[in-house]
Symmetry: C2
């Protein structure tokens, strides 16, 4: 290896410019790609400073942004070279660079998100975004505008990730639906109506089947259920014959955003 | 700022996994986006190891890749919050996060490139790519497959970067064309024929008008010329009334890849 290439492989230190506030507060259940859960709202939080306001000038002219971030809750001591994507059935292993698996040599993530609005508060500048697959607290390294004429390569071959997976049907148990109605009764939303934000968020997230590949084959096993936090609720569901049944919904005791 | 957000802004150290060998050996003249110079070939160089071969398994099933890299020759002490994109005429300033300018708080770049082939040598594993806007020696932090169903957002609004700029017509002076013929005579390519790789590479690169915005307004000024290295030649050109004239072509004395 020449000196030049050795220089190119030197470690470098980067300092995040912002962090994420998200409805996803734990890793399990987060959509595997950005853009799949349209109801997922989040904010990219900058410190309110003149320099940050200038750096963001004109960003609202773009509809979509690239977020380059750190997968900060990945703490593998030895990143695996091979991973088993769920949509390959969980048995076929491919190289980590041929996947978007979070378990990678450098824990760097890339997501295209929709920019909804920008808000300047007293302490913070908030970029309100939609479609994020980002864990709450995610450190953001960089933001770049999505430039369709170079970034949108429609004819690209996505191999086994070519097409979106068919969403899993999501149904509600009576107790879970009652809880959803109660939660909505507490807010200004119409209780359990189609279009209700929390209901949509839960249904879109579960429909993507967050189960790891090795658990998908347990489909229908008696008593097997999964749980995740979404926004300010705890959701628990079962899967039987490819249909998800939400069995329990619990409001979390504290506001996760405090 | 809470402890949590303070943690999210902590510096982190990343070690590149590979580096780039490119026909672009100096910053000036490099296309401002990936994919614009189809004739630009480059290689992403990994050390030949079992772990790297495993990590790349199956990558050849994808036609395009995202390369997340370090803009390693950007050494600004104080990154500017505002930049002046050439296509806004060089006078209008926008925030750095609303541009792809290389002068940014974290010198992290993002390019979608076409994957041509993968080659395992005795010392190195080479991903041969096309359409790169990457400087020779660029350190690569990560590679991810381009997944069209999430990454290709055709309806995204690219604001002032919505459309590709009209390429600048490129013409050749007789001495420059003669030199191109001689260079081709030394290779197996047909001399100066359309489709000749070096000619295409030069024409596609100059057609993008690499001049910085403040020099574009000098268009037609007597004696003003620009130069850049492309592959193993030095190219010098003038611009008059929006037409580029290549006035000189010189073979570089040493092989830049040594």
């Amino acid at each position: 290896m020449t000196t030049d290439s050795a220089n190119s492989l030197q470690a470098t230190t980067l300092t995040p410019v912002a962090y994420v506030r998200s409805c996803f507060t734990e890793r399990f259940g987060i959509p595997r790609q950005a853009g799949l859960v349209k109801s997922a709202t989040a904010s990219i939080v900058f410190a309110n400073s003149e320099s940050n306001m200038l750096s963001l000038r004109g960003i609202e002219d773009f509809s979509h942004l690239w977020v380059i971030f750190l997968l900060h809750k990945q703490h593998y001591k030895n990143p695996k070279a091979l991973v088993s994507p769920p949509r390959l059935g969980g048995s076929k292993r491919v190289g980590v660079f041929a996947t978007r698996s979070p378990n990678r040599p450098n824990p760097v993530g890339l997501s295209a998100v929709r920019l909804e609005s920008i808000e300047q508060g007293s302490q913070q500048i908030l970029l309100h975004i939609r479609g994020a697959d980002l864990l709450d607290g995610t450190p953001v390294l960089d933001i770049k505008p999505y430039v369709p004429f170079v970034d949108s390569i429609e004819q690209a071959n996505g191999a086994w990730a070519e097409h979106i997976e068919t969403p899993m049907p999501v149904t509600w148990s009576e107790p879970a639906r009652n809880c959803l109605r109660r939660l909505h009764g507490e807010s200004t939303d119409k209780a359990g109506e189609p279009g209700s934000t929390l209901q949509q968020l839960i249904e879109e997230t579960i429909a993507l089947d967050p189960r790891p590949a090795h658990e998908r084959i347990k489909d229908g096993e008696a008593g097997q259920s999964w749980g995740m936090k979404i926004s300010d609720v705890n959701v628990r569901w079962q899967v039987d014959n490819g249909i998800a049944l939400i069995i329990k919904l619990e409001k979390l005791p504290v506001n996760i955003y405090e």
